[in-house]
């Protein structure tokens, strides 16, 4: 096909992000491997950041650079953020999409985009 739909379009665009954000955030908050990092944050602001993250991972429009990722997570790296925590987030993301009935081939693409930010997030 010459005019293939983008990943973001296949997932359902902004409506899909809106459907996923509460589910994903609940998973993160109940995940004991990572919820310590989310204890003392403003939930409203955090939900907006989760939405921005999902938009990016869904292949949607965003202007995040590797530097933004580094700066945004530097304080967490100082608190011990490591590969196991990134693994947990990607797992929660996959579980969210499965719950929403997204097919595995698309979930793999989303996971790959999230994976591509790993080194920047961890400041390497």
């Amino acid at each position: 096909m010459s005019q293939q739909e983008s990943l973001y379009e296949q997932l359902g665009g902004e409506a899909a992000v809106n459907a996923a954000v509460d589910i994903f955030y609940r998973k993160v908050l109940s995940d004991d491997r990572i919820n310590e990092f989310f204890k003392d944050v403003d939930m409203e602001k955090q939900a907006a950041k989760q939405k921005a993250f999902l938009t990016m991972a869904f292949g949607g429009p965003h202007n995040y650079t590797g530097l933004d990722m580094r700066l945004g997570h530097a304080h967490l790296v100082e608190r011990g953020l490591n590969d196991s925590h990134v693994d947990a987030v990607i797992e929660d993301l996959g579980a969210t999409l499965r719950e929403l009935g997204v097919r595995d081939s698309l979930i793999a693409q989303v996971a790959a985009i999230a994976e591509s930010t790993r080194d920047d997030v961890l400041g390497r």
């Binding site: 902004e14 992000v17 809106n18 954000v21 509460d22 955030y25 609940r26 908050l29 109940s30 939930m43 409203e44 602001k45 939900a47 907006a48 950041k49 939405k51 921005a52 938009t55 990016m56 949607g60 429009p61 965003h62 202007n63 995040y64 933004d68 945004g72």
Partner: protein
Amino acid sequence: MTTIRYAKNDFELELNQSVLECLTDHGVPVPFSCQSGACQTCIMRATAGIPPETSQQGLKDSLKLQNYFLACVCYPTTDLEVALPNDNVQTAFPASVLSLKLLNADIMQVVLECHAPIDYRAGQFINLFQHQTLGRSYSLASVPHEDDHLHLHVRRLPQGQVSGWIHEELRPGQTVEIRGPGGDCFYIPGNSDQGLILIGTGSGLAPLYGIIRDALSQGHSGPIHLFHGSRDLNGLYLTGELRDLVEQYSNFNYVPCISGDDVPHGFASGRADDVAFQQIPNLKNWRLFLCGHPDMVKTAKMKAFMAGASMKDIYADAFNVSQSS
């Protein structure tokens, strides 16, 4: 040519330029991150003019109604005067004290008559000033169109400068300075069969009392549950008025909660938030209003979200006690 006014400076918006780009190009320190209208870091408020709808996508309804917008995706075609959320743009105006009445041992109802009409929503707060540099935020318990004047419930704090002054020195007939209104914890008409849960501790009842009466007067038809909590019976107030409302409206339910040991018949035992979440464990599709003690608000917000409430349906106002009380 569209003009963006910030802190009394006028900036011309260039073609295809966002408000964020325009302001940051001129050295205004607007924080930003995603630049695509998602992360809400660059949220601003139009203090004059109406921001385009597309710049308000994803914002909570109560913020939209107050003309908040995301600067990075804001491309206005008419002039805007804008402010950052923490800029102090509230104007001061005088009000006369009409009456002072104790609602219980610690909480004073202050009724104020503004010298000029004030446009507010039930549940918002105003700042009341003892003198020019010493003011505190108090929630409004009154409802526009229902009540002629502004009603505040001021709890006397142990070392509270302003609350002490209100309780001991303020007299009817005096003129005070107020600023406001502010806050985004209020009832928004629409979705009138949605269930509402309101949880408050202490004088956190003030905004809730306004919100409930506002919702009822606007014809809200879904169930409305109020859980008001205190350590003991003496901390509860307006119980008679609230029971009258229960008589009057079949969809309104009032649950006074006592967290201490001595719980008389007709009162629920436990903290207001615990009682609420026990009685209504699944909060999917409910709208919540949480007001009062900051720890209660924080815990209840988390619990409500985990119990299925959507973040956009949780309205909260934490009564933070000023460090220099």
